[in-house]
């Protein structure tokens, strides 16, 4: 029996970091126990629902972020895209009174914003960190300019279902996330696209030598990221029933922390969608629980930063992995 287990362990696919995921899983359980001790109402239905609603926008962004980080890139612009989409949605609704048109234009805006990132990173080959930092300012600036720093309201009541409605007793956005997460997981595990993502992350040159169109993969990744940002913007506006140009501030960092905590290597190649989900849960629970325990949000951010450093150091998930070991042997 024991022997069989050992054998199974060795034939696991090498691109998943089991040690890291075990650590995160342990941390998650520990955090839940901690929260139930230091707060009174962490496990109340009301709190859990509120927490889910508050964090699902970041969670939706973390999914495409996983793919982008897998290819050794980053998308800092998502917060700007969310703000821009949120403002466009409210503004167009105010001007035309047509919510369907407003939603359509919002989604198109998100896709175009992602496409610009994809072209700049994939085809013009500007390092993604700089490229998306620039577009983050561009998109965020557009949001500020269009809104003139005002809070835009006036959306139809029916639209609020998206952000505050229930389906089978659970918040609607949780269902949206669940469907998206299953889809992303499937793509990464089972499709050609998913395997190409890993190859590009591990070694973009060997990807080219296998006939993979690397630039196109980057483009698709960023377009998906932009579309998900538009979706997050819809949910955001619906949830708080207004649009502000500071919508989405800090979403990109929380999403990146969730992805990296979840075991995706910052230098690409290694990682799973399941890990990202664990990362999202951990970040979400920490943020919510510590707020309940009256810890200020600055302290929470410091704790998250420390946690990120510690998990990376403990699990040794600094990227490189096999290659690094290999070079040493040589």
């Amino acid at each position: 029996m024991k022997k069989k287990r050992v054998q199974e362990k060795t034939i696991r696919p090498p691109e998943i970091k089991y040690t890291h995921i075990s650590i995160i899983f342990g941390l998650l359980i520990f955090t839940c126990i901690l929260m139930s001790v230091i707060t009174d109402n962490f496990f109340s239905t009301k709190n859990l629902t509120g927490m889910t609603r508050n964090f699902m926008e970041t969670a939706l962004l973390a999914l495409p972020m996983t793919f982008i980080i897998l290819t050794n890139s980053i998308d800092l612009s998502v917060s700007g895209t969310v703000a821009m989409c949120a403002i466009f949605l409210a503004k167009i609704n105010l001007v035309t009174g047509n919510i369907v048109l407003a939603i359509a234009i919002t989604v198109i805006t998100g896709i175009l914003a992602g496409a610009l990132n994809g072209v700049v990173v994939g085809y013009i080959k500007i390092p993604s960190f700089i490229a998306t930092l620039a577009t983050m300012f561009m998109y965020g600036g557009i949001a500020q300019g269009v809104s003139q720093a005002e809070t835009l309201t006036g959306l139809p009541k029916t639209f609020y279902i998206l952000g505050s409605g229930y389906f089978l007793g659970l918040p609607i956005q949780l269902w949206i996330f669940a469907v998206a997460a299953i889809l992303f997981s499937f793509v990464l595990r089972r499709t050609e696209y998913g395997r190409n993502l890993r190859v590009i992350g591990f070694n973009p040159e060997s990807a080219v030598y296998a006939g993979i169109n690397v630039a196109k993969v980057h483009l698709i990744n960023y377009v998906v990221s932009g579309a998900m940002a538009a979706l997050a913007a819809l949910i955001f506006v619906s949830r708080i029933s207004a649009a502000k140009s500071n919508a989405g501030v800090g979403y990109e960092t929380d999403a990146i922390i969730a992805v990296v905590l979840g075991g995706t290597s910052i230098s690409g190649g290694y990682g799973t969608v399941e890990g990202t989900i664990l990362g999202i849960l951990l970040v979400g629970i920490l943020r919510n629980g510590l707020t309940l325990a009256r810890v200020s949000s600055e302290i929470t951010t410091i704790i998250l930063g420390m946690l990120l450093l510690l998990t990376i150091i403990i699990s040794g998930n600094t990227g490189g992995g096999v290659i690094k070991k290999h070079k040493k042997e040589k």
Binding site: R190, E192, Y209
Partner: protein, 502 residues
């Protein structure tokens, strides 16, 4: 004449290979001493031993009568040995003088600030010594390759080098630049500097060197004053191996012309390269490193941009813009640098093997996992890839097994034309024989195979025809019967065949 550098019975091994053995070398004061040898003969390792980069396992290094032990490159510099490398290691945005003194900038005053005036004067003095007229505060990125090369020489001299090692200094230079370089070398020689000169170009050695040493397979072969040897003698020293004992080729029926390439140029190295290959034929690409063999192959399959040139498959012109276009037409290239781009080291054997052909086992982009395993499993079995299971990480396999994975990846695409670039580089003898056997069988099954190899015996014994490259162009094409080691080497070195035969 006084001996300035002497190497005695040097032995250097790397894991699994003996790079140098019983190597002897003597350099006299004010002498230009050329070192010649085939690709992989051990020239680079020898230079690195002299420069303190590699520490020899056995043997003595004697500098000016004193036995020394280099533990790092700095030791060699201190002992007065300067190396001008093939690829320059200059900082493009810094000035000439800063590059010359980088790491040991002259300092002055309490704050140890950089003494630019002193540095400028020093740099100008060295340039004047070499008769180079140039503003030493110019940034290096504005210099041409020849000027950079001269800066490297000046840099070595500024470190008070009495022994200068020039590794292929003319590889990237035009004829006029070579002349200028030679004038500088003569000048150095006159001032008492001893020079070790490495070059593939035999006529340069005859022009400039006083003495020549030939090495082969990591061992010292012979040395003589240049005035007393001729090309034929040199080539014989460099080859000196019995070909017949290597790799017999399997018989195959050679059919119609399958792939023909004509007028291929890339604007930098390749000039009007043309060749054709028939079904079931093994076409060898021979030539020196950098002669354009791999460049031709990668340009044909769309991995390297080309300016002109037509690629015809069965008489139909193909439009190949990217590698995928070649793959879809059944032209597969297997890289020479398997660690860099031949395989993806951190991935499993299975994922590597099916990587390039994944499209064919996908439906709507979803991988058929059963077929994925079947394909990988069949190649693992066929090539006897030594690994416990197919999810084993390729980076942990031996070189030979990694190469088998790389070849499997190519073959899984079902190629009609297979281009193998250095298929046996860095693999052990057993794996080598297996790979040769496989190449023979593939050709016998009707596949057209282009084999690029720097190992002369391999090219000669495997190929039906050999195309010889020299400086980006086809220097000649020999049939199996015509091709001898001497003729191929003579074509590759641009020496005249008649001269060699005489």
């Amino acid at each position: 004449m006084e001996k300035v550098l002497e190497l005695k019975k040097i032995r250097k091994t790397f894991p699994g290979v003996v790079a140098l053995q019983n190597m002897c070398f003597t350099l006299k004061k004010g002498e230009i001493h050329a070192i010649a040898g085939e690709n992989g003969a051990g020239k680079s390792t020898l230079i690195k031993v002299m420069a303190g980069v590699h520490i020899p396992d056995e043997g003595e290094i004697i500098v000016k009568g004193r036995q020394v032990q280099f533990t790092c490159p700095q030791d060699a510099i201190t002992a007065g040995i300067g190396v001008v490398h093939q690829e320059t290691s200059l900082f493009p945005d810094l000035s000439i003088m800063e590059n010359m003194f980088i790491g040991r900038l002259p300092k002055k005053g309490f704050f140890r600030s950089v003494d630019f005036a002193k540095m400028k004067a020093e740099a100008e003095r060295i340039y004047a010594m070499l008769d180079i007229k140039m503003d030493v505060i110019k940034p290096v990125k504005t210099l041409g390759i020849a000027e950079k090369q001269m800066l490297e020489i000046a840099k070595a001299l500024s470190q008070n080098s009495e022994i200068l090692i020039l590794d292929e200094p003319t590889a990237a230079l035009s004829i006029r630049e070579v002349e200028t370089l030679f004038k500088i070398i003569e000048k150095l020689k006159a001032s008492g500097v001893s020079i070790v000169y490495i070059s593939h170009r035999l006529e340069e050695i005859f022009q400039i060197a006083d003495y020549i040493s030939v090495i082969r397979d990591g061992e010292y072969v012979a040395s003589a004053p240049v005035s007393q040897v001729d090309t034929a003698q040199l080539v014989q020293w460099m080859v000196g191996r019995d070909v017949d004992e290597f790799y017999p080729k399997a018989e195959s029926d050679i059919g119609e012309v399958l792939l023909s390439v004509s007028g291929l140029s890339d604007g930098s190295l390749l000039r009007n390269v043309s060749f054709e290959i028939r079904e079931g034929e093994i076409l060898g690409f021979a030539g020196l490193a950098g002669a354009g063999r791999s460049e031709t192959a990668t340009a044909v399959v769309g991995l390297r941009p080309k300016i002109t040139g037509a690629v015809l498959l069965k008489g139909k012109e193909l439009k190949i813009r990217k590698y995928l276009d070649a793959l879809e037409n059944g032209i597969v290239y297997i890289s020479e640098d398997r660690q860099r781009n031949g395989v993806t080291l951190p991935m499993s054997i299975k994922d590597n093997i099916t990587l390039a052909m994944l499209k064919h086992i996908c439906r709507f982009g979803v991988i058929n996992r059963k077929k994925d395993k079947e394909v990988a499993g069949s190649y693992m079995k066929q090539f006897q890839i030594a690994a416990p299971h197919m999810n084993f990480v390729v980076g942990n396999l031996s070189g030979g097994n990694q190469q088998k994975v790389s070849v499997s990846k190519g073959l899984a695409c079902n190629p009609r034309v297979l281009i193998l670039d250095e298929p046996t580089r860095g693999v052990d003898v057993g794996a080598k024989a297996e790979i040769h056997d496989m190449i023979g069988r593939l050709a016998a099954s009707g596949m057209s195979i282009i084999m690029i190899s720097s190992e002369m015996p391999e090219v000669l014994s495997m190929s039906d025809r050999v195309v010889i490259f020299r400086q980006g162009a086809v220097a000649g094409c020999l049939s199996r019967e015509e091709a001898t080691q001497e003729k191929v080497l003579a074509l590759a070195l641009e020496a005249k065949v008649t001269e060699v035969q005489a």
